[in-house]
Amino acid sequence: MDHKYGRWPEDVWSSHSAGWRQAGKITAGIDVGTTSTQAAVLCGGALYGYANLHTGADFGAAAGRALDLALGDSGMTRADLAAVCGTGFGKRNIACADSTMDEVHCHARGARFLFGAGVRTVADLGGQTVKAIRLYDWNRVRDFMINDKCATGEGRSLEVLCDLLHISITEIGPKSLEAERDPEPVSTTCWAYANAETLGLFGRPEFKAEPLTEAEIYASHLFAYAWRILGVIGRLSPLDAGEIQIDGGLAFTGGLAKNPGITRRIERELGVTALTSRWDPMLAGAIGAALLAAEQEAGE
C-alpha cells in the first residue's frame, strides 16, 4: 500500500523580513501532534515563519526539524528566541522547549490569533482526538469536551482510507461535495466501522436502486465524520436547548479543518458559517503556544 494518496503536503513559510531584529520579542511554539508537527515563530506578536511536517517515528527530532525550518533563512537562530513553548501529544520530547502547555489552551489562544477576537467556539479536528473548546471573550477557556474513547483516531483514519481508496486526501473533501444528495452516513461510532462500511459500498447494487456514485460514497463517509464531530461540539451547547446552539464565532483548527467535505457539512447542520483565516488552521496549536510563551515570559 503506497502512501502517496494519504500523505498530505508539508508546508514551510517564512516572511524573510530582514527587520526581525528590531521587531521586538521573538517567541516560538511547537505543537508535536500524533500525526503532524507544527512550529511557529512570532516576532512582536506577528507571525514570522512556520513549518508544518509529518511527525514520523521520532517526536523529538520532528520538533527540532520543524523549529529550524520555521526560523527561516534570514539568520535567526534558536539563541534569538526569548521563549519556546511546547505542546501537543509529544510535548515531553521537545528538548528546546522552556515550558509546555496543554493543547486545549494553545488551540484556543491560537484560534483567537488566526480567526480574530470574534471566535468563541473552537473545534480542533486533530489526528487522534477531536476537541471542542468554548472560550470567554477574554482569553480564558470556559469549557471543553474531548471525543469519546471510541471516536479516537478520526484524522489518522482518513489518511488510511485515502491510501485504500486511491484518492488524494486533499481531493476527497471537494469531490464529496459534488454529490447532489447526501446519502445516509456510514457508521458514526468509530473509524474502523466507518472504513469497513465505506469499503463495502462499492459494487453490489442489491438494495440500492443504482450503485452509489464515487462522490456519494465519499459524501456518506465524510458525513459520518461530520456527525461524529457534531456529537463532540454539541456537548458544549446548553442542555435544555432543543437544537444544538453554538456560542458565537465557530472556528475549525487542525488537519481535518482543511477538508471542506467535513467542515461544510458541520456548518450546514449547525446553520452557522465558520470563521476563516489566511493562515493554515493546523498552526493554531503552535501559534497559541508561542503567544502563551510570550505572555508567560512577560508575566515573570
Binding site: 469519546d148 445516509e184 457508521s187 461510532t189 442542555l239
Partner: protein
C-alpha cells in the same frame, strides 16, 4: 416462484391490523392528558380505567423512528448524544429521548406531552432507568415498579414477598394517579380488563402454537405488524380481543389447509430478540434461499408459552395461574389476578430460562428450527445479555447459528447492511443452500 412447495395466500386480517395501528398512532396526538410509558403490567390497558388518558410508550416511538424517517432518527440520536446519552444507550431510548428534546416526532407532529410516567418493569435494566428522562425534560410525576426475578426452582417464600412488592406498587400507582388527576378509576372496568388479559394471552399462545407446524402459516414479518396490538399499542381491550380472535381463527384455518407464509420453505430459523426495524429487507432476502423466520421469544409476546411435554408433544407451558373465573371484588383482587401467582411473570422463568444462556434451546426445539440468527447489539443490554453464550449452546445442540452485529434495533448507526447480506450468503453457502433462482 422456483422451488415452490406450498400454496400461499395474503392474510385477510391485514387491513384490520393496519387500521387499528393507525387509529392508535393518531390517538397519540390529540388527547388532553397523555400518560408516559404507561402500564404496570404488559397488558394493562389504561384507557379502560382512565378514559381521558392515552399511552405514549417509548418503545413504539423509538423503535419505528429509524424506519419511518432515517434522517430524523439520526438527528434525534444526536440530540440525545449531546446530552450524554452516548452510543451505549439502547436505540429505542436514544431515538425517543432525543426526539423529546427536539419537540417533534418522525412524522413532524409535536412530541406527545407526557403528564406522568409509569415505566413498565422489564427484564432489561435500561427499562428501570426509563421514565426518568420524561422527568429530565419536564418535572412530572413518576411511579415505578420492580421486575422481580430469581434463579432456580420455584420458592414459595421468595414468590410471596416479591408478589406483595409488585402488587403493592401497582396498587399504589392506581390510587395515586386517581388522587393526583382526580380521575375516578372504575373498578368494574378493571375487573373486565383483568379477565381480558387472560383471553388475549390465550389467543396469542394459540397463534404461537400454530407456528410450530411445517409449513409455518405466519412468518415473523407478519407477526411484527400484529404483536404490539393490545400490548404496547393500546387499542382498547374489546378491539384487541376481537382482532386476536379473528387472527387466531385465520391462522388455524391456514394450518389445516397447509397454507404457508413462504411457499418455498425449506430452512426454518429463529431469532433471539427484535430485528433491526429499519432493515427488515433481510427477511425477504432469506426467503430467496427458502429460509423462513419464525420469530423470537420477543416477538412471541416476550413469553415462553410453549414447551416440549414429557410425552414428546408440544403444548402450553404449565406455570401457576389463578383460576380464570376467580371472584374479583376489590381493586387489590384485580391487581393480584392480573399479575398472576408467578413472581417471574410475564416470562415465567424455568430454572434455565429467558435471560439464561439455555433459554432458546427449548424454543428452537418446539418450533422445529434448523438454525438461528442472533443480532449482537452493542447497546440495548436486555437483548444482548447472554446471547453470545446462547449461540454457542445452540451450536452444541446441533443448530447452525449465525451472529451479526449492529447497534440496538431502533438505531441504524452500526448495522453494516452490506456486510449483513454477505454474512447471510456465507451462512447459507456454508449449509450448502443456494439461492432458488440460481439453481
Amino acid at each position: 416462484m422456483k422451488g415452490q412447495r406450498w400454496e400461499t395466500r395474503p392474510l385477510d386480517c391485514w387491513q384490520l391490523a393496519k387500521e387499528l395501528r393507525r387509529s392508535y398512532d393518531n390517538s397519540l396526538a390529540d388527547s388532553s392528558i397523555v400518560l408516559g410509558n404507561g402500564t404496570t403490567n404488559f397488558y394493562v390497558d389504561w384507557q379502560v380505567a382512565f378514559p381521558a388518558i392515552v399511552v405514549a410508550e417509548d418503545n413504539p416511538i423509538g423503535a419505528m423512528m429509524a424506519q419511518q424517517n432515517e434522517a430524523f432518527a439520526r438527528k434525534a440520536r444526536l440530540a440525545s448524544e449531546v446530552r450524554g446519552w452516548g452510543r451505549e444507550i439502547c436505540g429505542y431510548h436514544n431515538n425517543c429521548w432525543g426526539a423529546q428534546f427536539l419537540g417533534r416526532t418522525a412524522d413532524g407532529k409535536p412530541f406527545p406531552e407526557r403528564q406522568f410516567t409509569v415505566p413498565f418493569p422489564c427484564v432489561c435494566d435500561s427499562h428501570i432507568k426509563r421514565g426518568q428522562q420524561c422527568r429530565d425534560y419536564k418535572p412530572i410525576a413518576r411511579w415505578t415498579n420492580d421486575f422481580t426475578m430469581y434463579i432456580g426452582e420455584r420458592d414459595e417464600k421468595r414468590e410471596e414477598a416479591m408478589l406483595d412488592h409488585r402488587n403493592f406498587n401497582t396498587l399504589k400507582q392506581l390510587n395515586e394517579i386517581e388522587s393526583v388527576f382526580g380521575q375516578r378509576l372504575d373498578d368494574g372496568k378493571l375487573f373486565e380488563l383483568a379477565r381480558n388479559c387472560r383471553l388475549l394471552k390465550q389467543y396469542m399462545t394459540n397463534v404461537s402454537y400454530f407456528m410450530t407446524f411445517t409449513p409455518s402459516p405466519l412468518s415473523v414479518k407478519d407477526l411484527y405488524s400484529f404483536f404490539q396490538l393490545g400490548g404496547l399499542a393500546k387499542i382498547g381491550p374489546e378491539k384487541a380481543v376481537h382482532f386476536w380472535k379473528t387472527l387466531r381463527d385465520e391462522v388455524e384455518w391456514r394450518v389445516q389447509n397447509q397454507i404457508a407464509a413462504v411457499g418455498s420453505e425449506r430452512f426454518r430459523w429463529i431469532e433471539a430478540h427484535p430485528p433491526s426495524w429499519h432493515f427488515l429487507k433481510y427477511y425477504r432476502y432469506m426467503e430467496k434461499y427458502g429460509a423462513v423466520c419464525l420469530g423470537s421469544q420477543y416477538t412471541h409476546f416476550s413469553q415462553s408459552q410453549l414447551e416440549r411435554k414429557p410425552d414428546g408433544s408440544i403444548g402450553e407451558r404449565s406455570y401457576p395461574v389463578y383460576d380464570p373465573d376467580m371472584e374479583l371484588t376489590t381493586r387489590e383482587d384485580a391487581v393480584r389476578f392480573m399479575t398472576g401467582p408467578d413472581a417471574r411473570a410475564p416470562h415465567h422463568f424455568k430454572i434455565d430460562e429467558y435471560l439464561r444462556p439455555y433459554a432458546l434451546n427449548e424454543f428452537a426445539d418446539v418450533f422445529h428450527a434448523d438454525g438461528a440468527m442472533f443480532g449482537l447489539w452493542r447497546s440495548g443490554v436486555g437483548c444482548a445479555v447472554t446471547r453470545k453464550e446462547q449461540a454457542m449452546r445452540l451450536r452444541q445442540a446441533g443448530y447452525s447459528v449465525m451472529c451479526y452485529e449492529g447497534s440496538q434495533p431502533g438505531d441504524r448507526v452500526d448495522l453494516d447492511e452490506k456486510r449483513l447480506i454477505d454474512q447471510l450468503d456465507t451462512w447459507m453457502e456454508s449449509l450448502g443452500l443456494e439461492k432458488l433462482e440460481d439453481v
